[in-house]
C-alpha cells in the first residue's frame, strides 16, 4: 500500500524542497507574511496594505494594468523578435511572414500592438486617478515625477515601435511625428535661431534621432534598438524605483 502522506512528508521535508520553499502552506498569519516577503516577485508588495488601498474603486487597477500591459508587450515582443529583421529589405516581408506563416504570428502581433495602445490609455488613466486621489502629495512628490518620466517613456516606446512594420503607415506616421524635431529652437534646422548654431538637415536634432537626414535603414535600426533594448531597459529601472517608492512612502490613503 502506498502511503501518500509519508511520500508527501518525505518530499516536503527534503533538503531540496526546503531550499526552495521556506515556509509551509497552512493559512497562518506568519505564512501570509512569508508568502510576500519570502518571494522576490510578491516582494513588490508590502506584507500588509491599507484596507481601502486595495479596493478597485480606489485604484481603478490602472497602475497594475499598465505594468501588465508592459509585461504582455515584452513577452509578445520577444516572440516577434525571433522572426523580424530590422533591415528595410526584410522588415516588411518579415511582417507578412509573421502574419501568414508563423504559428500564432498574427495573434502575437495583434496582441503586441493592442497591448501597446492599451498601455498608453491605462497610463493616462492611472495618472488621472493618482491626480484625483491627490496621491502625489507629500511624501510622494518624487514618485509622481518618476511616473511622469514613465509616461513619456511609454509614449516613446509606442512611437519607436510604430516604425518597425516598415509600411506606409509606419514611415509616414513617424515622419510626421519626428518633423517636430527639426523645428526645435536652436537644435533643429527649421527651428528659430538654428542659423546661429549651424544646424542643417543632416546635422540637427532630427538627424540625431533618425541617424541621418531622412528616414532610412539607419533610422530603422536606431528605432529598433531604442524600442527593444534602450527604452525598455530605462523604463524597467524607473519602474523598479516607482514600485519601490510606493512601498517606502506607503500606499496612499487618508491619514490614519
Amino acid at each position: 500500500m502506498i502511503n501518500l502522506e509519508q511520500i508527501k512528508k518525505d518530499i516536503v521535508e527534503s533538503q531540496v524542497w526546503k531550499s526552495i520553499f521556506r515556509h509551509g502552506y497552512e493559512d497562518t498569519p506568519r505564512n501570509r507574511v512569508l508568502m510576500v516577503t519570502g518571494n522576490v516577485w510578491m516582494h513588490l508588495h508590502p506584507a500588509k496594505v491599507r484596507r481601502h488601498a486595495v479596493r478597485m474603486r480606489f485604484t481603478w487597477c490602472m497602475g497594475g494594468l499598465t505594468f501588465l500591459m508592459f509585461l504582455l508587450t515584452v513577452v509578445t515582443g520577444i516572440y516577434l523578435m525571433f522572426y523580424y529583421r530590422p533591415v528595410p529589405q526584410y522588415a516588411y516581408a518579415d511582417m507578412k511572414y509573421l502574419e501568414f506563416d508563423m504559428p500564432f504570428g498574427m495573434l502575437m502581433r495583434n496582441m503586441h500592438r493592442w497591448a501597446a495602445h492599451a498601455m498608453v490609455i491605462f497610463v493616462w488613466l492611472h495618472m488621472f486617478r493618482v491626480f484625483l486621489t491627490g496621491s502625489y502629495k507629500p511624501p510622494r512628490e518624487f514618485n509622481w515625477i518618476v511616473g511622469v518620466l514613465l509616461l513619456v517613456l511609454t509614449l516613446l516606446l509606442s512611437f519607436t515601435g510604430y516604425l518597425l512594420p516598415w509600411d506606409q503607415l509606419a514611415i509616414w506616421a513617424v515622419t510626421v511625428g519626428s518633423n517636430m524635431a527639426r523645428a526645435t529652437p536652436l537644435l533643429g534646422h527649421e527651428g528659430p535661431f538654428a542659423e546661429f548654431v549651424g544646424a542643417n538637415p543632416i546635422y540637427d536634432a532630427r538627424a540625431f534621432l533618425f541617424g541621418g537626414g531622412d528616414i532610412g535603414p539607419h533610422t530603422l535600426l536606431r528605432f529598433y534598438i531604442l524600442h527593444c533594448i534602450f527604452i525598455p531597459l530605462v523604463a524597467s529601472l524607473l519602474m523598479a524605483v516607482h514600485f519601490w517608492r510606493i512601498r517606502r512612502d506607503g500606499f496612499s490613503g487618508p491619514p490614519l
Binding site: 498569519p29 501570509r32 507574511v33 508568502m35 510576500v36 508588495h45 508590502p46 506584507a47 500588509k48 491599507r50 484596507r51 486595495v54 478597485m56 480606489f58 487597477c61 497594475g64 501588465l68 516588411y92 511582417m95 498574427m106 495573434l107 495583434n110 496582441m111 493592442w114 495602445h117 493616462w124 495618472m127 486621489t133 491627490g134 502625489y136 502629495k137 510622494r140 512628490e141 509622481w144 515625477i145 511622469v148 509614449l155 510604430y162 516598415w166 509600411d167 506606409q168 503607415l169 514611415i171 509616414w172 515622419t175 510626421v176 511625428g177 524635431a181 523645428a183 526645435t184 529652437p185 533643429g188 527651428g191 528659430p192 531622412d214 528616414i215 496612499s252 487618508p254 491619514p255 490614519l256
Partner: protein
C-alpha cells in the same frame, strides 16, 4: 493641515490587511479578466499593415500615431517649434511640478471634489479638454489637407478651403516690418502681464490673502506662467476660428 492632524488624533485604527491573499487575489482575478479580453481583442481585430514603405509617396493626410494627434492638431494654430517642441516640454515640466505647486494638504489619498475644486478643474481643462479633445478632433475629424471632415463624410482630396487668415499686426494697419514685430511682441507680453495680474487677483479672490503668502512668489510665478501658457492655446484657437488671425507676433525668426 489642522484637519489632517485632527483626524490622526481621533481615528487611530489599524486598518491593514494581509497582502496575501487579499491584494494578490484581486490582482490575479483582474489579470485573468484583462488577459482574456486582450486575447479576444487580438483574435477579432487585426493590427493594420499597409503597403510597403515608399518614401516617394506621401499619403494625404499623413497622421502621427493617435496619441500624438493632439500635438499635430495644435500645429494648425501654432508653428512647429512651439506646438511640437516648446509646448510638449512645458506639458512634461508642468506635470512634474504639480506636487510642488499644489500645497493644499487636503485631499491626500481619498476622492474629493469639494476640497480641491480648482486643482481638479485645472487638470480637467489641461487633460480632458485640451489634450483628449484635440486627439479626438485629429483622429476622427481631419482628412486630406488636414481639412475638417465629419466622420461619416467622404474624404474629398480636392476640397477647397479658402486661406483667409491674416496676421494681427497687418489687420490693425501696420505695414512696416519692425512695427509689426514690435506690436506683436508687445501684445504677447501684454497678454502675459495682464493675465498674471488677473490670475493673482483671482487666486486671492478664491483662496484668500493668507493662502497667497503661504504659496510664495516662486510657486505663484511658475503656476501662473504655466497656466497662462496653457490657456494661450484656446485663446489662439478662438482668435483663429472666429477672427481668422494667423499670427499675433511676426518676426524674422519666429512667429506666435
Amino acid at each position: 493641515m489642522a484637519e489632517a492632524q485632527e483626524r490622526s488624533r481621533t481615528i487611530v485604527v489599524d486598518d491593514k490587511i494581509h497582502t496575501w491573499p487579499h491584494l494578490v487575489r484581486g490582482e490575479f482575478l483582474v489579470t485573468i479578466f484583462v488577459m482574456v479580453a486582450m486575447t479576444l481583442w487580438s483574435l477579432l481585430v487585426d493590427a493594420p499593415l499597409e503597403e510597403p514603405a515608399n518614401p516617394a509617396r506621401t499619403p494625404n493626410p499623413s497622421k502621427a500615431p493617435w496619441y500624438f494627434l493632439g500635438l499635430q492638431e495644435m500645429l494648425v494654430y501654432f508653428d512647429p517649434w512651439y506646438a511640437g517642441v516648446v509646448l510638449p516640454t512645458f506639458i512634461i515640466i508642468g506635470l512634474m511640478v504639480i506636487p510642488f505647486i499644489d500645497i493644499n494638504a487636503k485631499g491626500n489619498g481619498y476622492y474629493t471634489f469639494k476640497e480641491r475644486k480648482w486643482e481638479i478643474l485645472t487638470f480637467v481643462i489641461g487633460f480632458h479638454i485640451l489634450w483628449v479633445v484635440t486627439i479626438i478632433i485629429g483622429t476622427f475629424f481631419r482628412g486630406p489637407g488636414w481639412n475638417l471632415f465629419w466622420p461619416w463624410q467622404r474624404w474629398d482630396p480636392h476640397k477647397v478651403v479658402a486661406l483667409t487668415n491674416v496676421d494681427l499686426p497687418y489687420i490693425v494697419g501696420l505695414r512696416d516690418y519692425w512695427a509689426q514685430a514690435g506690436f506683436g511682441l508687445f501684445l504677447v507680453l501684454l497678454y502675459y502681464v495682464v493675465s498674471t495680474w488677473l490670475f493673482y487677483k483671482w487666486v486671492i479672490w478664491i483662496k484668500g490673502k493668507e493662502f497667497m503668502v503661504r504659496w510664495g512668489a516662486v510657486r505663484f510665478a511658475i503656476t501662473s506662467f504655466l497656466f497662462i501658457t496653457m490657456i494661450g492655446l484656446p485663446v489662439k484657437m478662438f482668435l483663429r476660428l472666429v477672427f481668422n488671425i494667423k499670427y499675433i507676433m511676426v518676426t524674422p525668426w519666429l512667429n506666435i
